[in-house]
């Protein structure tokens, strides 16, 4: 294994190059088969010549706290295939990728077959030694090092051999040539565009003798032209017999190069399908079909007066000309993809950032917030989409998290906090929201996602908000617990609170909102009523950007 790894990179890549050099440019088809043959014989010298699975995953479950991220997932990845792992945010696709790469350890009972051996879990080292390479969304390159140093970085690992620049350069050169990337090996990576950095990351995987390359959301930050270049690169990898796994939020972009598609919803695998029969529509149907079983539309309460009115709100580079009204007792969905500016809008409504122009009125009165405290005073609450980093103070107790927003109201004489008052408040809301916590003194991090979210909601309910902005309220919440959060949202509306739900999950917005604003490229692209469109139509419009 060990000698294999050291000998392979130059051998593998070099072999490919030789095969390429041998065939003429016009004979494209022949060239490809020659490449593949060349790569095969060199790479798979010891292993079986037939196309078998490179990795087999059986019964993979993973829990975080009380939360299932994955539930009994089986997956086989064939040698040399391009496999797309597809699903909405939080469906467990990234967790699955991290289990293959050894970052996470699956729960007991899992079996991972790789390199002809069964493992209950993989360590990052084992995974790497079996040829698994992950290209993360942030690419994990060294910005201050040059292209060639990044590509040949693995040469520096695991041995005490002296550092030889020429060896690194040769290896990088080979990888760059093999992928036909036009990159200057001496350029520092920090000077490159994202797309170019991605090329460096791909070359690094190749130079490390990858047999399986996992790409986490590779198209998320790329313009369309660059996506095409990426797909071309993936075809090259495939020709070399390397398995490529796309972990992708969206299907259409990578469908053309994919062989098979695995669809995941809420930590469960729906199935693996050949890419040929798959399209956008069918995928939406698969996800939605599964989802609709999980719950029905919640009932609307009678909406009252206008609570929030926004006119022409603009903040350069984030959102522009946003106008809408939100009434008391109404649940408004603001649906848009990640990066559409929806969270940026919410931050301005919450006083965290200042809009450049436009106006905001709360119950008819124009407001201008200097900071988040002005917004809270005016009756605005904001549930952050990032519960781990911003929504709750994870290491601190359930109790303290819940009353954090209203600490000043718990004071008695001399300005000291009354523990009795605090405990009463906490006990009341733990009961009313049915928060399952063994002990309110425990760190909030030990609660399940759904219960954590309820604590975060309680924190805002306690401030007596008029307007509550909920950013991805069920992100990272178990399927079963999602319903609980949704019912709670309805109950808030019944208490005459104007609720805005920001989400990229169409089904969630569709089932729980009275009106839906489609947010796209920093502005409102359309308004829909769930009574008049079907979920599938809506999903089609929103997910196509």
């Amino acid at each position: 294994m060990r000698t294999d790894r050291i000998a392979m990179p130059s051998g593998g890549v070099g072999g490919v190059r030789a095969a390429e050099a041998g065939s003429a440019e016009p004979a494209r088809a022949r060239n490809r088969t020659a490449e593949r043959a060349g790569a095969r014989t060199l790479r798979d010298g010891a292993s079986a010549p037939t196309r078998g699975p490179i990795v087999v995953l059986r019964n993979i479950s993973k829990r975080f706290g009380g939360n299932y991220a994955l539930k009994g997932v089986d997956l086989e990845l064939e040698k040399g295939e391009v496999h797309c792992l597809c699903g909405a945010n939080g469906c467990g696709k990234s967790t699955l990728a991290k289990i293959i790469s050894g970052t996470y350890r699956p729960d007991r009972g899992a079996v991972i077959v790789i390199g002809g051996r069964e493992h209950p879990y993989l360590t990052p080292r084992e995974s790497r030694d079996c040829g698994v390479q992950v290209i993360y969304q942030d690419l994990a390159l060294f910005p201050n090092l040059s292209v060639y140093e990044n590509i040949a970085f693995e040469c520096n690992l695991g041995s005490l051999r002296p550092y030889r620049e020429s060896r690194l350069r040769a290896l990088a050169r080979e990888a760059l040539d093999a992928m036909k990337f036009d990159l200057d090996p001496d350029e520092p990576v920090e000077n490159l565009t994202i797309a170019r950095r991605q090329q460096v990351a791909i070359c690094r995987a190749l130079a490390a003798d990858a047999k399986l390359v996992i790409m986490d959301e590779p198209t998320a930050s790329l313009p369309r032209v660059e996506v095409n270049n990426l797909l071309a690169a993936v075809r090259y990898l495939k020709l070399r017999g390397i398995t490529v796994v796309f972990v992708n939020h969206r299907l259409d972009e990578v469908l053309e190069v994919s062989d098979r598609v695995t669809v995941m919803v809420d930590g469960v695998k729906i199935g693996t399908f050949p890419a040929s029969g798959m399209d956008k529509e069918r995928l939406t149907g698969l996800i939605a079909g599964r989802r609709i079983d999980a719950g029905k539309r919640t009932k609307a309460a009678a909406a009252g007066e206008t609570a929030l009115e926004v006119r022409g709100l603009t903040r350069a580079g984030q959102f522009h000309d946003v106008s809408f009204a939100l009434r008391e007792g109404e649940v408004l969905g603001i649906c848009g993809l990640l990066g559409s500016g929806r969270t940026e809008l919410a931050l301005s409504l919450f006083g965290m950032t200042r809009p450049d122009s436009g106006e905001m009125r709360i119950r008819g009165r124009a407001v201008r917030f200097r900071n988040q405290r002005d917004a809270i005073k005016a009756g605005v609450g904001y549930l952050s989409e990032d519960r781990l980093a911003l929504g709750l103070i994870q290491p601190q107790s359930v109790k303290d998290n819940m009353v954090l927003t209203v600490m000043d109201r718990l004071k008695t004489f001399a300005g000291l906090i009354s523990p009795a008052k605090r405990d009463r408040t906490v006990a009341e809301w733990v009961e009313r929201l049915d928060i399952k916590a063994a002990n309110v003194d425990d760190a909030v991090s030990v609660l399940s996602g759904g219960n954590q979210q309820k604590v975060a909601l309680a924190k805002w309910i306690l401030t007596d908000p008029k307007i509550l902005i909920l950013d991805s309220p069920t992100a990272g919440v178990d399927v079963g617990a999602k319903d609980g959060v949704h019912r709670l949202i309805r109950r808030l509306a019944e208490r005459k609170i104007a609720v805005a739900v920001i989400s990229d999950e169409v089904s969630e917005v569709y089932r729980n909102c009275d009106r839906i604003l489609h947010f796209r490229r920093g502005t409102i692209a359309g308004e829909y009523s769930p009574d008049r469109v079907s979920e599938r139509e809506l999903a089609g419009m929103i997910e196509n950007g």
């Binding site: 965290m352 988040q372 405290r373 809270i376 904001y382 952050s384 980093a389 911003l390 929504g391 709750l392 103070i393 994870q394 290491p395 601190q396 303290d400 954090l404 927003t405 600490m407 000043d408 718990l410 004071k411 300005g415 000291l416 906090i417 924190k459 401030t463």
Partner: protein, 341 residues
Amino acid sequence: MRKTAFLTIIPALGLPALALAGLATFGALMPESFPSKRTFESMAFQMPELGLLTLAMFLPFVSAGFNLSIIATANVSSLFMAWLWTSRIPADAGAATQAVWLFLGFVGACAVAAAIGAGIGAMAAYVGVHPTLTTLGVMTLLKGIGISLTRGAPITGMPPAVQFLGNGTFLGVPMPLAVFAAAALATALVLGKTSFGKYIYMIGSNINAAYYSGVATHQVLIGIYVFSSLMCALAGLVMTARFNSARMGYGESYLLLTVLAIIMGGADPNGGFGKVWGVVLALFVLQIISTGLTLYGVSQHISLAMWGLVLILVLAVKYCNRRWYAPWALRRQAEAVKAPA
């Protein structure tokens, strides 16, 4: 449930146990000299200096910050007091005039300290520089200014009232200990019973999440360093009183010992957790070790080494607790809950 509840309390008993063990050991080694009023008095006179400085370090520490300038701030404020008292109080002043001047001197020193603290806090809050870096600068700045103004010489000859504060006893309680006890109590009240104190813990764990919850993090940060600096002024007062003089450079060896006491007292090095009583207990343990060893005739340097050793031991025990004991206790509790059902 009731029967196993004590299991989770056991780890909290570590420091009191350590203090008792220390007392018992030295008591057994020196049955005549150690368990005496004199021993405890000398401890009561020595501990408050380090104690007050530790309290000054404590708030920044809990907020996941740091204050390297505590000693320098204490010295600058004590220099200010000493200068005012030695140069401005007329030799023939009556008790009332003296009292006014003493009060003015202390208030002035507090104002100086508060200004320093506000500056540090503002740098942390508005400029976003980590307090460790700011206070490194402030420490060096204050030290330079202080030494150049005094040419490194001490200001000596404090009024008798001040000397009493350093060396006298009131109702049998040494004055420095009384000052320290009051300061510790005040700190415990601020941290445990005020919203400001709660915000400090929250900021220590996650300042961004605290900000998103509407906490005025900027103001709280400034408050933390103002409070810390006021504790420095108090420490400066006690030091001036004890030594009957003020000088830039007093107590410099205390700087990192304060951190030792805080960590030993159970505060989380990452911020967000820590109790005043833990720190007070840790200080007590440290003082027992140093006084006991001194009485036993061991060099001071050895007792310093012992402090380091004890810290390492405490940390090792803490690790074992987290790794093995706490999970075991939790399992036992869970079983005890299940069993009757």
